[in-house]
């Protein structure tokens, strides 16, 4: 009797651990191992002592995604290079923020680092949960600046993982939202990928044919800070909206209402009816089944579209940048998964964690998880400008579709906007409030103005506390 409640937890935890280690095992299956796995020369050319904290062990929380699986398969190389043991735990994307916050706020140091949502850095920093990384970047014993070349990482992502100019996370993988369209359908009607929001709608209108199960347009409609509040900010900024009036967050400006109205109309008129419950995998699935003519979402969803087992549209896919909003701006996401350092670790563990981060985000590892990777899934969210411009990357991504790399790279370089979403410590509450408001407008429960006015009232309450 006494033991029953006490046993439940370790039992479950053990199962989780076992599950995690099975995952790692599966990920390190020999046939997936990088062919020249023992070639560590590119890392050893860095003027740092990789073995300085040999024998430490760290744990890393990531989401189950191929771009992290690829990194997992390279861990034996990292362990050979540094003598640091790494345990990877896979946490579903819907839970990783909560798990990380639980760990960080209770200072248990369970995760030395985790795949962090860029919008959460202000919260982490306000609570002093993560280390400022400038001191690691500037410490010659820890970082060979010339070798690591921090400035080679996309500026938008560096900025997104920084607070007040100080880096708190190093981007590992990321994405930009782009237009994905059916080239064959567009060509048949002589359409061009949209340059403006109106063209996006007129293209959708021209191709919308629900009777034959082809819908003109799809955008994420599911409620969530990472779902509808991932698409809406781009539209909002394209309509010329700004999140701040002085120091206050304002979400019910006339631009905001117009943007939400546009979003509602676009989905109501041209999207599959279920789109209000759809996240990106649902949209990518529908597109790969040929029932959606255009969507705007992460460039990395191309991997789903080109899966020969599922997709019926391989070879018919085109990519283009976001169309311009009424204010002439194209606004794409600045989403990336970065790695921060948990502030409640010991100094030695922090160094070990930094070495892991430096290794994972280095140009060499980026290449080894992408075009040099021997498995089928080549990563497309590389963190470095030089990688994006390399011919090897172009060759590896060649089959993704028409204009894939130019569309994504131009978006990365020109259309990103750090003020895409309001970067404040209260973001989790604001993001959730906005997601709820947007959804109530999308499903017709409330008018856009009414939904945003209510969100504004609530956000004011949240901010004053």
């Amino acid at each position: 009797m006494k033991h029953r409640p006490a046993q439940v937890r370790p039992g479950r935890r053990r199962i989780l651990k076992q599950a995690a280690s099975v995952g790692v095992l599966a990920a390190t299956m020999p046939h997936l191992l990088y062919a020249q796995g023992d070639d560590l020369a590119p890392y050893r050319s860095a003027k740092v002592n990789w073995k300085q904290v040999e024998g430490e062990s760290i744990s890393v929380a990531v989401i189950p995604a191929s771009y992290f699986d690829n990194l997992g398969t390279l861990l034996p190389q990292f362990e050979a290079l540094t003598g640091i043991k790494v345990r990877i735990e896979k946490v579903p994307p819907g839970q990783i923020r909560q798990k990380a916050i639980l760990d960080l706020s209770s200072k248990t140091g369970t995760y030395s680092t985790h795949a962090a949502d860029p919008m959460y850095y202000p919260l982490y920093v306000a609570n002093k949960w993560v280390e400022p990384l400038d001191k690691y970047l500037h410490d010659a014993t820890l970082t060979d600046k010339a070798w690591f070349n921090y400035d080679d990482i996309h500026k938008a992502w560096r900025d997104a993982d920084s607070v007040d100019g100080k880096p708190y996370g190093i981007p590992y993988d990321g994405e930009v939202t782009v237009q994905v369209y059916r080239k064959d359908l567009y060509d048949a009607k002589g359409l061009k990928p949209a340059e403006t929001y109106e063209e996006l709608l007129s293209n959708a209108k021209a191709l919308n044919d629900p009777a034959n199960r082809v819908h003109g347009l799809a955008l994420r409609g599911f409620s969530g800070a990472g779902q509808n509040m991932y698409i809406y900010p781009s539209i909002f900024r394209g309509f010329g909206g700004g999140w701040f009036k002085g120091k206050d967050v304002v979400v019910n400006s006339p631009e905001a209402v117009a943007a939400l109205q546009w979003y509602v109309d676009a989905l109501t008129n041209y999207a599959p009816p279920a789109v209000r419950n759809w996240n990106w995998p649902d949209i990518a699935d529908a597109f790969s089944q040929g029932t959606v003519a255009t969507y705007i979402d992460a460039h990395s969803s191309a991997a789903v579209l080109n899966n020969p087992e599922k997709s019926k549209v391989i070879g018919k896919i085109g990519f283009a940048r976001w169309p311009k909003g009424p204010n002439g701006k194209r606004v794409t996401s600045i989403w990336n998964w970065g790695f921060p350092i948990n502030a409640s670790l010991t100094e030695k563990q922090k160094k070990a964690t930094w070495l892991f981060i430096a290794w994972a985000t280095s140009a060499e590892t980026q290449a080894r998880t992408s075009w040099k990777f021997s498995g089928p899934a080549k990563r497309s969210g590389l963190n470095r400008v030089s990688s994006w411009k390399s011919p090897e990357f172009a060759a590896a991504m060649g089959g993704a579709g028409v204009n894939f790399i130019p569309a994504a790279l131009e978006s990365l370089e020109q259309d990103t906007d750090v003020e895409w979403r309001p970067r404040v410590p209260q973001w989790p509450a604001i993001g959730e409030t906005m997601a709820t408001a947007i959804q109530s407008a999308l499903v017709g429960q409330k008018k856009p103005k009414e939904a945003l006015d209510e969100a504004q009232a609530r956000i004011q309450q949240i901010l004053k506390g």
Binding site: M1, K2, R4, P5, A6, Q98, I101, S105, L123, A126, N127, S223, G224, P273, A274, R276, N277, V424, P425, Q426, W427, P428, A429, E432, T433, T436, A437, Q439, S440, L442, V443, G444, Q445, K446, A451, E454, R458, Q461, I462, G465
Partner: protein, 299 residues
């Protein structure tokens, strides 16, 4: 436990009581630590201002979290939804469960099979039920319900995407899962009702309806009340199925108090206010259960 040396003046009964207490102590202690202590911690948290988004404001807040609810439309909305959800699911479960039980009693054979079939939804985890309904039953175009409504010419509907339909849908999900419980309890009760009373009534020419109103209902009343109390407590604290099916959405259309407390604490990271909401739900459940038990004893 060491050997207890009998002290002078101890009766055997007292020794035994002490021994029993010693045996129970570990279990009680664990219970205290795992259920009561967190409850007090929750109450304490509800008096604090703990908002991880604004750590600089943390501190003791007294009853601020509670007074804030008065002006919080989402709180009132969730409270209203809690009552709607609880009331409708309990009534539906009892009515459908009782009707099914009466119907099945008329079946001479095969009751055992029906009883086993009825248990199936109960043993499913509510999360599984929520996901199952969301993906297989209620999804537009592919879902079972949509197939039926389209076949009947009622058209395709976004069952979980439309605010009103979503509320009806989560009520249907809960009713589907838990009606069998009411059914089984009431079936067992009805089967034990004394046949001689009915025989006497029949001799007095009481109609079937009169027999139901004046005999069956009063005799089954204790069982019905028990079902109502138990189901009410479950419905008030329902979470997993709604969380899996709609997440409280669309908007806040299915956000009962429990989900609102969860969202506030773990999505918006306002732990103090979330704890206060949970305390309100706890108080509500206690008060309602207290009155239901009194109602049960009355008469």
């Amino acid at each position: 436990m060491g050997v207890s040396v009998p002290r002078p003046g101890d009766t055997l009964a007292r020794q035994e009581r002490r021994f029993a207490l010693a045996l129970l102590a570990p279990a009680l202690l664990v219970l205290l630590l795992t259920t009561t202590a967190p409850l007090f911690y929750l109450a304490w948290t509800s008096l604090q201002r703990i908002d991880l988004g604004m750590p600089w404001l943390s501190g003791f807040a007294g009853l601020d979290n509670y007074s804030k609810m008065g002006a919080d439309p989402r709180f009132w909305n969730s409270l209203w939804l809690t009552f709607v959800y609880t009331g409708s699911t309990v009534v539906l479960q009892v009515v459908i469960g009782l009707s099914l039980a009466l119907l099945v009693l008329q079946i001479p054979r095969g009751q055992g099979v029906l009883r086993v079939a009825a248990i199936l939804p109960i043993v499913l985890a509510p999360v599984v039920v929520g996901l199952f309904w969301r993906t297989l039953v209620l999804s537009p175009e592919f879902g079972l319900v949509d197939l039926v409504t389209r076949a009947l010419g009622l058209g395709s509907h976004n069952w979980l995407g439309d605010p009103q339909l979503a509320l009806i849908s989560v009520i249907a999900i809960h009713t589907w899962q838990w009606t069998p419980f009411a059914f089984l309890v009431l079936l067992a009760t009805l089967a034990t009702l004394p046949p001689d009373v009915y025989e006497a009534a029949r001799l007095d020419r009481a109609s079937a309806w009169q027999r139901f109103i004046h005999i069956t209902l009063p005799l089954a009343r204790p069982a019905i009340m028990m079902v109502v109390i138990l189901r009410m407590m479950t419905a008030l604290s329902a979470f997993a199925a709604i969380f899996a099916a709609t997440g409280g959405g669309p908007g806040s259309a299915t956000e009962i108090l429990n989900l609102y407390a969860y969202r506030t604490s773990f999505t918006e990271l306002n732990l103090g206010y979330g704890a206060a909401l949970a305390m309100v739900l706890l108080a509500l459940t206690l008060v309602i259960s207290y009155f239901m038990f009194r109602l049960r004893r009355a008469r």
